[in-house]
Amino acid sequence: MHKSIQETLKTGWIVIGILAVMTVAEFIVAIAVDDKAILFALLLIAGLAKAWLIIQYFMHFGQLWEHISDAWFGMLSDDPEADGEED
């Protein structure tokens, strides 16, 4: 299940590549676009996209959910068997 280290590192390079391109793009857009509102919207979208990339791929947010969801939904149901009493 564990990814190999090469694969992990490759993901890192791809993500940082996209982030770098987007940052430069932001910079250029800020020079090119004159309308305040449009610029704000574009930068907001870019910021959210970059944040999502970091949160998902660098901080492994999905991993947290994977570990919790199982027990979470077990807890949601009222069926004691679904929660799996230990011993």
Partner: protein, 189 residues
């Protein structure tokens, strides 16, 4: 960490998951602080940005912080695969970039004082946003430093797995905060 005294109930959550959940909750909390911080920019100076803002410096600092996220990511990956040497090297690289970032902000402040000191509207916003963020960066460097010395002293990842992961997650969070602070401070018109 364990209680020395406690035989535990059989919970379905391992310590690592609990630690992750706790850190994520704290990040949610801190994120709401940054939202408050960013919103004050719009309240005080609207979206306008003075021309004297050091654009090139801002862009370089951003790229630098993003790159440090890559090394932090690699430190975590190395730790996960038990590569002590690689983890140490990447932690060091991350810290180094963090320190350069702090000096970069210091230089930026030096410049900013000439055009917009803290007693002007834009200065208020700039010094507060960068100041709060750079404090986070310093805590990140400090945390990474603690983790580095722990890994070095024991010369193994073993018990330090969560320490590495937690410090790295914190570092990425500081990066995410900057992802929003950078356009808010430098790029808006």
């Amino acid at each position: 960490m364990t209680h020395e005294h406690a035989p535990r109930v059989n919970h379905r959550f391992d310590p690592l998951t609990i630690n992750r959940l706790g850190l994520w909750l704290f990040l949610v909390s801190d994120a709401s602080f940054f939202i408050a911080l960013l919103s004050s920019r719009f309240f005080v100076v609207g979206t306008s940005t003075p021309e004297e803002v050091a654009q090139v410096l801002g862009l370089s600092l951003t790229i630098l912080l993003l790159l440090s996220s890559l090394t932090a990511y690699r430190a975590e990956a190395a730790a996960e695969h038990g590569d002590v040497h690689g983890a140490k090297r990447m932690l060091l690289a991350t810290m180094a970039m963090g320190i350069i970032f702090v000096f970069g902000v210091g230089f930026e402040w030096h410049e900013a004082f000439k055009h917009f000191p803290p007693s002007t509207a834009f200065g208020t916003v700039l010094f507060t946003l960068t100041g709060v963020h750079v404090t986070h960066v310093l805590t990140g460097v400090l945390t990474l430093g603690f983790v580095y010395f722990r890994v070095r002293n024991t010369d193994s990842i073993g018990d330090n797995q969560w320490a590495v992961e937690g410090a790295v997650k914190w570092w990425h969070f500081v990066d995410v905060a900057w992802v929003f602070i950078y356009p808010t401070l430098y790029l808006l018109k």
